[in-house]
Symmetry: C2
């Protein structure tokens, strides 16, 4: 069976140099090697082993999470990992959501971003070396999306120069913050600022939750874990209630908004300033999306190249069974996700660069691009988190029954990833922000204003009709110009259509909000068109610039880019057909072109996933192993199952034996 791994044969077929591709994906040879070195620290460290992840109960996983958290801090110091990038690589390699994640990810950054210099100098010396553990407490039982609706109050008491923190309702209970339940000693708390009965809206406060002596909750504070979830087993997402708890005036984060001792409020200078972090986080989410999908597809493609099962109908029992990756359906299911992983890689890389540009723009007082960045990041965050979570699940299904086992690695990958559709902005809420921005551009175009932002310039471009079906000339579907033209024409039409329809509803006398609500179901389609155009542009540009750095990689990347784009077009064929942009004959041409691309991609499939450079440690998958020894790994994995630690199970004497030995 798998003694001589079928993967070796696959690897020999590569049309390109895998290592060069890895360098490209990891940002160059030097960077790649540095990363590999950092990852090794984790992978060779027994404390960071993760083969126990699938069999430990939740309490033990939480404890392992604490253990890894502490060890991480110690090891990073010992090794002397200085720069942020190394730290991130180290962190990613640890590959488990830890109870202390929010300390790094939100608590410290919020203090750095929103606390005054004075506050920072007081709190950071505690927070940075973990003399306190912090989290970010925003969401409540009753309010997640609508942050402005948060109910926890911080009422200023002039007489004592304190805020009184209170949870006035059941729904005001803080609910979800990571690490809040059992780990954190402190939090940044989002609460309504009340001064003299006047409500100034939601502000951030620094609040101690537990005693540093014995870790007991402080008086007036009730808190705990919110209970088991799909993933994140090691994280103690928590709840938190306050019964008139007093904190000093000093504890309101005061970089932007302030309250004076006698209760005078001064508001922040610019309300867009807090956008920055949010946009950064979303830009980051897009890069993560690519990495996550690439893990799933690595497992699915390797397993599909090892798995042999049955025959094509019409060839029953002729010779060796089919490698399932050779089934037309299996390719049609998996290759789009392979291409998508690469597409999102180039998009994520572009977004990171774009973020830097925008930030420097802001420093010069230019907020134009911020709005674009914000709208695009919102749409792309929704697009990519949907694609990737659906993609992981499809990868899992493509492994047949074995995908259903936790040791497939795909179950946790999904469970840990899918909340990204909900947090950092619920996707259905986010796409409306993209629409809102696009509508603004439409309005400014109607006012004859010039569109200066490139990514939405398609909304005003003149249509070139040469692609219409009336013209019988053969189209080169792999020409990026043709592709972009199609995608632009589509996006332009769909955006203008919803804009015009919305405007007409408003004109006809409907309340704008009612018109908006009625139009909502049409937004996903238009935002999808906008996002696909954006991603396709990034992919095409990415391939182009590879032509300079690593020309030998261009053919295989171009194939993926073409496949990605043609697949997107096929998926939304109605958008093109209903206005006669693509004729029936051309539909067939596109299908045939895709078919050709599929057979060209097939021999590179395993090398293309190898290039992602995911270690066996990180994949943590019996099915996705580099050596392809899946069956041995599955059998071996059963040793970790607690049920197997005794030949006769607990419960036998009580429940099985009495039946077997009954006199009935």
């Amino acid at each position: 069976m798998s003694s001589a791994s079928p993967l070796e044969k696959e690897r020999k077929q590569a049309s390109f140099d895998v290592r060069s591709m890895t360098y490209l994906l990891e940002g160059g040879e030097e960077k790649c090697k540095r990363r590999e070195k950092v990852r090794k620290y984790v992978e060779e460290d027994p404390v960071f082993r993760n083969d126990d992840r699938y069999t430990l109960d939740r309490y033990s996983l939480y404890k392992r999470g604490l253990e890894k958290s502490k060890h991480l801090v110690n090891r990073v110091q010992e090794i002397g990992l200085g720069n942020r990038e190394d730290l991130e690589v180290f962190w990613d390699a640890v590959d488990m959501n830890l109870p202390t994640n929010l300390h790094y990810a939100m608590f410290v950054p919020t203090i750095m971003g929103q606390a005054s210099v004075e506050q920072q100098s007081e709190w950071l010396p505690l927070a940075l070396p973990f003399k306190i553990y912090g989290t970010y407490a925003q969401t409540e039982l009753g309010h997640g999306t609508n942050v402005a609706g948060i109910e926890t109050t911080a009422t200023y008491d002039k007489s004592t120069k304190e805020f009184v923190i209170n949870s006035p309702t059941v729904t005001s209970t803080k609910w979800w913050p990571g690490g809040l339940g059992k780990t954190s000693t402190h939090c940044v708390l989002m609460a309504r600022l009340i001064i003299d009965d006047k409500d100034y809206g939601v502000h951030a406060f620094y609040v101690q939750l537990r005693s540093l002596e014995d870790h007991m909750p402080l008086p007036g504070i009730t808190l705990g874990d919110i209970g088991p979830k799909m993933g994140y087993e090691a994280v103690d997402n928590g709840y938190l209630r306050f019964d008139h708890v007093r904190i000093p005036l000093f504890n309101m984060l005061a970089k932007y908004a302030q309250v004076s001792e006698d209760g005078v409020y001064s508001k922040p200078p610019h309300d867009k300033l807090s956008y920055g972090t949010m946009v950064f986080v979303r830009a980051h989410l897009i890069a993560t999306a690519s990495v996550t999908l690439s893990r799933a597809i690595t497992i699915a493609i390797r397993y599909s190249a090892v798995r042999k099962q049955g025959y094509v109908i019409g060839a029953e029992k002729k010779g060796e069974e089919m490698t399932v990756l050779d089934f037309g359906l299996q390719q049609a299911r998996l290759f789009p996700m392979l291409a998508e992983s690469y597409a999102l890689h180039f998009t994520g890389a572009f977004m990171k660069k774009f973020y830097v540009t925008v930030t420097s723009g802001i420093q010069q007082g230019n907020f134009d691009q911020l709005a674009e960045m914000h709208a695009t990041a919102a749409g792309l965050k929704a697009y990519s988190t949907w694609k990737v979570s659906n993609g992981i699940e499809e990868c899992r299904k493509s492994c047949g029954g074995h995908g259903y086992l936790l040791v497939s690695g795909l179950v946790h990958l999904f469970a840990d990833y899918v909340p990204a559709c909900t947090y950092e902005g619920d996707n259905y809420v986010l796409i409306q922000q993209t629409v809102k921005y696009l509508f603004k551009i439409c309005e400014s175009i109607q006012r004859q204003e010039k569109v200066t932002v490139e990514s939405v310039s398609y909304l005003v471009e003149q249509e070139d009709p040469s692609l219409h079906t009336s013209s019988k000339q053969k189209v080169n579907w792999c020409d990026p110009n043709v592709q972009l033209k199609l995608l632009k024409l589509r996006a332009k039409r769909l955006v203008w259509e919803i804009f015009d329809e919305y405007s007409a509803l408003v004109q006809s006398g409907l309340e704008p909000s009612q018109a908006w609500n009625r139009m909502q179901p049409l937004y996903p389609r238009a935002v999808n068109a906008h996002c696909v155009l954006y991603i396709a542009s990034c992919f095409i540009d990415g391939v182009k610039s590879t032509n300079e750095s690593s020309p030998s990689l261009v053919p295989v990347l171009a194939r993926l880019s073409n496949f990605y784009i043609l697949h997107q077009i096929e998926q939304s064929m109605v958008d093109f057909v209903e206005v006669g942009m693509i004729s029936r004959e051309q539909q067939l041409q596109i299908r045939q072109q895709k078919q050709t691309l599929m057979s060209e991609i097939r021999p590179d499939a395993v090398p293309l996933v190898d290039a992602f450079n995911h270690s066996d440690h990180l994949l943590n998958s019996a099915l996705g192993r580099y050596d392809g020894r899946v069956y041995e790994a599955l059998l071996e994995s059963t040793k970790n199952e607690p049920l197997n630690h005794t030949p006769v199970p607990r419960g036998y004497e009580e429940f099985i034996r009495p039946m077997v030995h009954s006199k009935l």
Copy 2:
């Protein structure tokens, strides 16, 4: 807040009598009441409580599974539940996949179906009162879909009149059978029958696995649990290896195939005989699909009617927050699944009746309908398991962050249901069986044979062009005749297209199997068209017959039927647009019609899910409670979380305190 439940207000809006609808769904008043009585036995029984399901570790859940298994047997005897239907209701109400499920579901039925009378009289007196526990061991590490490829051998030894059972390879390890790991004492084993070096293919054997004395595995047998999975935590799906284990000749299941003492093999009379059970199981799966989806949509709609969050863009901060069920997008996401639940209900009911007809046909030697039933059940099984698993996940996402908690009830519902896409035939394999059948019909039509099977008669019906876009007349989209005509025309075209293309490929010299493989990616679309037509017909017929029994329910059911069908048409709009069946103007009409239906369905949404009659026990969901007190239930649920049983968590002394108190 939830003090006066918003659900009460919703319930007052009902346009129909909920109880009457429940009677319709449960098969009449009498049956409904009987079922409710049976369910009460379970729901009021502390042993069957399930509020511990989300927090127990796997080992404890397995033990609880054994406890419930035993209690179930005892209670059923005490109560004196005689008929199969009551038993099923009881079983369903227990609502956890038990370690002993396969004993009832496969072991006993296989013995009844495939063992000789002599064998039955020996084994059933042990199996029926649980003096032995059995499972059905078919799938191996290396073979699931391709049953014919199974590697376990049963070699007949004439000298001792025994079979020698052996696992010759790693991949021949049995892998997956429910209850095999720790619970079962026996199994029906599928193994290759070998006599005098000749391989007679896969046959069924009765094999003892564990001692009835002390439950230890018998000599030569290695077995255990295959480890944790997505769902089914209480079930010990197992692995099993044989090292030359001997069983008597008597133990080969001998109703159809036999081996004589001197090793002469006689084969079964008709190879379609084993089809029956498979088809029955799949027909049953379609009814289950409806019930499962209806649970998910009950939770999602109730929660969406309770949850208030934010405002529509354009109405920010005006008055009370929106009930999320009033967002256009939320309705567009949820109502299709509400309609789908009803659609699948009528389809499932029809399939069960159809099964009875077919079975009596077979008794008269008529296998025609068996082929149709088999093909349709295969396609519908794939269609419905996909729809329902995707639907549950969409319901979960529609609950925002709280959907991610296990106490939402939606996480386990998905995990326990989604393997239905893979077992009882992998969906991608099944749809090919449907295509194969449809191709046969196409061939017989080409040979000018008459099509006698109604469900595929659309393949030969004459096209009436009056719906074409050229005709400007207004179409009544809620006319079932119009709807069926559209769906038939579509299915006809799509099936003939793939058939013609396949035939052309073969004609052009391609191997049939190669042609088939190349065509594979096109099959899901055609099978979808076939299935949607089938379901739409069942739904329309179902509404029609309701007109006789409960006319007052017709308006609301007709709305759901129309909504289901128009939604399906919209989802596959390209199928209609690309051949000019539906014009752009008509597309808009359909959209507006759907919009109207959505607003008509809205006030009935909660009553329509109430009608499914799922108890709080069964939903086991903090979000889907009948009383709508979701926030109180969420808070309450945290008490079950083991992490909350001590104020300071395990691991504090070891991992948190040293950091907080370090001298650094």
